[in-house]
Symmetry: C3
Subunit: 367 residues, 3 copies
């Protein structure tokens, strides 16, 4: 019944922001696999296993030569961008089949996506999109925190925004968030869970008051679209109280049909590092004040503060439940209506786990 | 044969000094149970499980409202002082039976006692007393250290004061402590072990010379009364050499029958935190110089120094024996006469462990 | 297939440099055994188990009296230099057979050798020699680092000097080291592995340029003589290009037959501390500039830098392979010609392990 630690491998994950990857060797662990990542001279991003086949030395502690070859920093085994060993010291014969694993990479929407599992199944067209991150008319701020907690804790956290009122009061939480019921919708074919909370008459939290300049009561829509395991999009719409979009408006898609409202696309990439840690990539894109550096600075600082509140909370919860699992084998939770979205996401994760043949702890269902 | 790590749960333990507990939420782990403790507006002390039933968030990282209700800092589950859940977010129905464990608490002799085990068995009249800590004619200093070592190591330490000569030389130890034989007495009905060492003609250690003003040789009595597992009382009597109390004087009880001597009641509460760590509450009460802040400061500083010498030694021993248990499964000790009191206490602990159905490693008996 | 963590106990190991051991108690763990070591008043070195038999307190945290007796710092158990308990507190009878283990010690070539295993088998004449460390006409610098990695990783490192080119470029590595093939020779009877690399026309690395004053091309010989598990000797000979010794010259023995060359004896003692850590004693003896403190300082600083590069690399590799062993049970390596010496040393270690009845992981043999 404990929050799962199973990692789904046959999936695309965000490994890095595009701007993190340069001509320098870069180490990051994704789904328990240590990767060395770099941008070759032609601009393509390369991801290889970060362990030399000779004596397991991390290639990320090595040297890049000729733009795209890694020379191991211990004994000089040399690999090309496909991971093939092309030179070893003191002999001309290369051992047959000598290579490190290479991983499919796609750079899209300013994100570097990687596929860790069975590469036969890697289909780049299945990568979920977040166009606002690299699109005219939008500006974004972003950051990355590592959480010493399992992926599923971050998923729980993001799928239930009622916690904004308690954990993030004074930033993004107001009483209406906890008080307004949600609607939850599961699209199994698309592999998407949607959770919506539309507040018609709500207090404007500082996060939006200070960035949009609005004062007074607002309508505030939160439309979550989560495609487990990795990409979470919160289509956030705030407008003066009583102001509604044109009929047929779809949150996250038709900002032009909704003039007079402020749209913020809050994107999280949830990438497991290990069974008990997760990379929390957070991005905030907006369609207002896009050239205003003060608004950018304000949103960056405030969202980072909110993320760090989550990091602290989830680190605590991970410590608690790890200890409870150690002592008692399991963790007892008690779920209520606000957890519907998180439980739906857990069920979808369980299906993905079954599809790859994993046993996965049942999610609690007492609502 | 290793020093036991079994924890006796059906017992009263000191959870805190009364003055530590205010209107703020306070976290302390006792017998492996994480507690949140606070003082309600009516002055009563409340102790609850420190884990929200919803997602295991520590309630001690939360907020107290209306004087005695805890609102979980993550999603707002709210608990009253009995631990009953009285509110959850976004719905009015409270899940049936939703509650966190609450623990019986008694505040007495300036100490907050808590009962972790079967609450049917909690009998407040069985709490051992240390009246000098809150009694006219006495003054006390106190402190608290956490030791990264099992409860039984602290018990061993306190039951055999010959170590004062070696570990605490220059503070409380003199050659006579190690040289003078002890008498040991076990009162199984009362659950008490007594160890007495009466030195008729001893050097006055700095601890007493500086606090009482005595110089020259002294008579020095150490009468230990230990009620396992928690309360240890050392009735210490020092007087000019040759000066004795009235017939029938009982150490720790009749200070008035013993004019001209200086009485110090050294009290330790040994409260297991986890299997491998213990809270070491130390208190020194005196019936002399009770209004003298310099004596208070001197005794505080010096006793704390002595306690920290014990902390260092026991931390070292815990590391050694944990490693020996890891490698060899057990620890081999060699006991002699000075250990009679400690071995008696171990046997009493074993009886308590059996009473609660625990298996407990045999204590070594080679003397 | 993982690099072995087996420790060979029936062997002589360097426990300390002679100058480390004085009249103070000194703690060092060798082959998982905690030792307390000291120099008695007659100058002899004593090594005893560092655990008091009474309550396992480390004797190294105790006091030495009368020149050669240890009084335990906790309760005063007292031991003589043979480890026999000669006094206990508060009684005159010493428990029968009370003693701590003592270990055979030999001080030779400025090194303190200790024998941890079966003392019946300890034969001082079998201790390998490193005479240059305490011999007229030679001067040496030395140091000690602890590596959080298994003994076999340091063995691998030292047996394959091609890594000098990659890990130690700019210090002792030049392209010729990695490019020149080696010859390997195993003398099973003597328990020695020899690896030689003779470079006829090589760049002079800074290490030798700055210490000898040579410039231009050199002949550079590296003749390794390793007697597993502990003593590694690298007979290093550098001379102006084209300059060779007299016929019959044996590296490491006949420096007089080789005038005009510079001889450096680089000695490592590889002493396991625990299954996953090793003491790396390093020494550099030279037969030139023996009275020049600047050369001494230069060689000390530079060799220490090189050793710390190895420490960093091996610490990383240990972490990697420990994790791989945890997850997958084993580590997959890929060996080539440069590893011949290291693989020979592993095989010799396996024979030693079998001789003491240990199971030992097979070494990989894919070359």
């Amino acid at each position: 019944m404990s929050p799962s630690t199973v990692i789904i491998r046959n999936q695309w994950y965000v490994a890095a922001y595009g701007e993190e990857i340069t001509g320098e060797l870069f180490a990051r662990t994704i789904c328990n696999e240590p990767l060395v990542i770099y941008r070759a001279e032609d601009g393509e991003v390369v991801a290889l296993s970060d362990r030399c086949i000779h004596r397991r030395f991390p290639l990320s502690k090595s040297r890049l030569i000729s733009g795209d070859r890694i020379v191991c920093g211990y004994h000089g085994f040399t690999y090309d961008r496909e991971g093939t060993c092309v030179a070893v010291p003191a002999q001309t014969r290369i051992p047959k089949g000598a290579r490190v694993a290479s991983y499919p990479v796609v750079e899209q929407d300013s994100l570097v996506w990687v596929w860790i599992g069975d590469r036969e199944l890697a289909d780049a067209s299945a990568i979920p999109r977040a166009p606002w991150l690299a699109q005219e008319g939008w500006a974004s701020v972003r950051g990355l925190e590592k959480i010493e907690g399992r992926h599923s804790l971050l998923m729980d956290n993001l799928m239930d925004l009622s916690h904004e009122t308690y954990l993030h009061g004074g930033y993004i939480g107001t009483p209406e968030v906890a008080d307004t019921p949600i609607t939850t919708e599961v699209d199994e074919a698309a592999g998407v869970v949607r959770v919506s909370r539309h507040m018609d008459d709500a207090e404007c939290p500082p996060f939006y008051a200070n960035s949009t300049g609005m004062s007074g009561r607002i309508t505030r829509w939160q439309d979550i679209e989560y495609q487990p395991p990795c990409l979470y999009r919160l289509h956030s719409r705030v407008a003066p109280q009583g102001h509604y979009p044109a009929e047929g408006y779809v949150p996250g898609h038709d900002a032009d049909d909704d003039p007079g409202a402020f749209h913020t696309e809050i994107v999280y990439a949830l990438t497991p590092e290990t069974d008990h840690s997760v990379h929390d990539f957070w991005m905030v894109a907006r369609d207002f004040a896009i050239d205003d550096p003060e608004v950018a600075e304000y949103l960056h600082t405030n969202n980072r503060t909110v993320v760090l509140q989550d990091v602290d909370a989830l680190t605590l919860v991970e410590r608690v439940i790890t200890e409870e699992e150690r002592v008692g084998g399991t963790v007892t939770e008690r779920s209520i209506n606000i957890d519907t979205g998180a439980l739906a996401a857990r069920r979808m994760m369980k299906l993905l786990a079954r599809a790859q043949g994993d046993e996965m702890a049942d999610t609690p269902a007492r609502v």
